[in-house]
Symmetry: C2
Subunit: 330 residues, 2 copies
């Protein structure tokens, strides 16, 4: 028996159960060169909401009455492809189906002795985003000071931990006392600032970073970022990973012009998406796995059970019901 | 008879004649190991404005009631140093004096048969600034589109020519019809825009750069830069060399926040001063000399006469009265 989840309607506002449709489909058989994949874990992520709309974007929208898809962990249950054997686990962007075939292209083998779900989080796009942005743009050196905004998020919490591994003083910025407490106790940040209860962020960053800021991993933009940037040192590096403060803006917001500061300190500011560094993923996953096995990377995840629960788990993301990465176990 | 120009006041806004003070001083005599230098040409440059303030910056500020200084060409008129003989010409960062002594450290001999003033321009910091910023940050590839602001300035006109040598489509932005005409006829730019007579700069840049902008060499900052940046392509590079539009600001000006654009296009923005790349100067001067001798680099200079005219020549920079490198002949 096989099943698929299709996009039934393009949501208006928050996605609803009626936007998804379950269908029974035939069990496929792998042809020569193909494998049969049994879905094990499905990642549900906020960015999928964008793909459910047909507005112009950098990723193609899902098509109506076609399968939804996301990052998935699957087990190889039949193989006509010499590169994969029965019992292998792989991760890839796959359709929301119980079973599907693949010619093997784009499948990455994963090591089940680590943690399968980690490949959807700390060892997946989340961890790679943290590592690539920090490593390729931030270029941390031991003894430098790193500030992370959106620090309690899935990416931010890993950025800070990698910064600690690399010998940096790490300061996190987050939006609640609980998050600030977790940054220090669970994720090992040196300092954490609750921007919602801090009147003068520029002074707070200065106090937390007595030697100035060398690297800023930015998930938010806006006033918080200004406060960090005005504390940066010569040759400071800013990796722009997100600008969540502007996502709901209807027109470009204004702020102090940064070029004079960037010039004065010979600073670098660079935006990125993780796929820019696709050629470094294998090496990156290896590094992240090593840290994870050594107990150096902590992460949170919420695991929901059952293929039928995928739409609900996705909708729950927008109610903040997850703690860390949201994953559905099949 | 000897004279010096001191910093009398830290300017508020644009520098004024009253910010400078002339004094008669004694004629120095070289001690053992020293040379007596007679100033021949004095370079005046926008960046000196920054050093007249005491705000934290990349170069130490000038001290009040102490001599101003800049790049100077001087003739050795007495020598107690075996490395220099009377009649040698040298260039160095020196004080604004008719005569001064030096122990020889930091003096570079120049070849008067080329052109003395070239060592303050195309073969000096000006040419190196253009080459280093474009090469190290802009990283031009043949077929890409380069936009240069302050294009008729000493640095800008060389940037554009190097861009052409490297196979780019080059667009210059300048502030008069004469400058725009010179960019195309003398310096070989493909397109040039007079920002003072252009109502919608963003549309004008779009029209001049039908394939979008890959590299922006920025000498000005402000609205002009916004107009260029909003036309940039994925992986665009912005080299910030100057922000002359803000040099005389008494408070930080505001503009649209750029981070969302920098993120969306995985762009890079980097500030620099030429001394960041000091280890590449010998190679750079060799390259610039080769282009100059091959007739591939044209440069303009505005030569003003008289030691007493140094402050006025400097102030005229902010009124755009120079055509290319501004030099004072003593």
């Amino acid at each position: 028996m096989n099943k698929v989840i299709l996009l039934a309607n393009r949501p208006v506002g928050k996605p609803a159960a009626s936007d998804f449709k379950f269908e029974d489909i035939v069990m496929p058989s792998p042809k020569d060169g193909e494998v049969l994949l049994k879905t094990t874990y499905v990642s549900v992520d906020p960015y999928l909401r964008g793909r459910m709309s047909d507005a112009k974007s950098y990723v193609a929208p899902f098509e109506l009455n076609k399968p939804m898809s996301s990052a998935i962990i699957a087990e190889v249950t039949e193989s006509e492809n010499p590169d994969f054997k029965v019992g292998d686990y792989i991760t890839a962007g796959l359709e929301w189906k119980l079973f599907q075939t693949s010619n093997g292209k784009g499948l990455s083998k994963v090591d089940p002795s680590v943690s399968l779900t980690a490949y959807l989080g700390a060892l997946g796009m989340t961890g790679l985003t943290a590592l690539m942005g920090l490593q390729e743009i931030g270029k941390p050196k031991s003894g430098e000071t790193l500030v992370v905004s959106g620090a309690a998020g899935a990416v931010g919490s890993i950025v800070g931990q990698i910064g600690k591994i690399m010998g940096c003083r790490v300061i996190g910025i987050a939006g609640s006392d609980e998050k600030v407490a977790a940054l220090k106790s669970k994720f090992g940040f040196d300092e954490a600032i609750n921007y919602k209860t801090t009147e003068n962020m520029q002074e707070a960053v200065a106090a937390a970073a007595p030697d100035g800021v060398d690297i800023y991993f930015d998930n938010v933009g806006g006033d918080i970022s200004d406060a960090v940037i005005f504390n940066m040192n010569k040759y400071g590096r800013i990796a722009i990973c997100g600008t969540i403060s502007s996502y709901n803006d209807t027109e470009a917001s204004k702020g102090p012009r940064l070029q004079p500061y960037i010039l004065k300190n010979s600073m670098l500011m660079q935006g990125f998406i993780v796929s820019n560094y696709a050629n470094k993923f294998p090496e990156g996953v290896k590094q992240l796995s090593a840290w994870l096995k050594a107990g150096k990377l902590q992460y949170s995840e919420t695991i929901v059970n059952g293929f039928d629960q995928i739409p609900q788990a996705f909708m729950d993301l927008f109610e903040g019901k997850n703690d860390g990465k949201m994953v559905v176990k099949i």
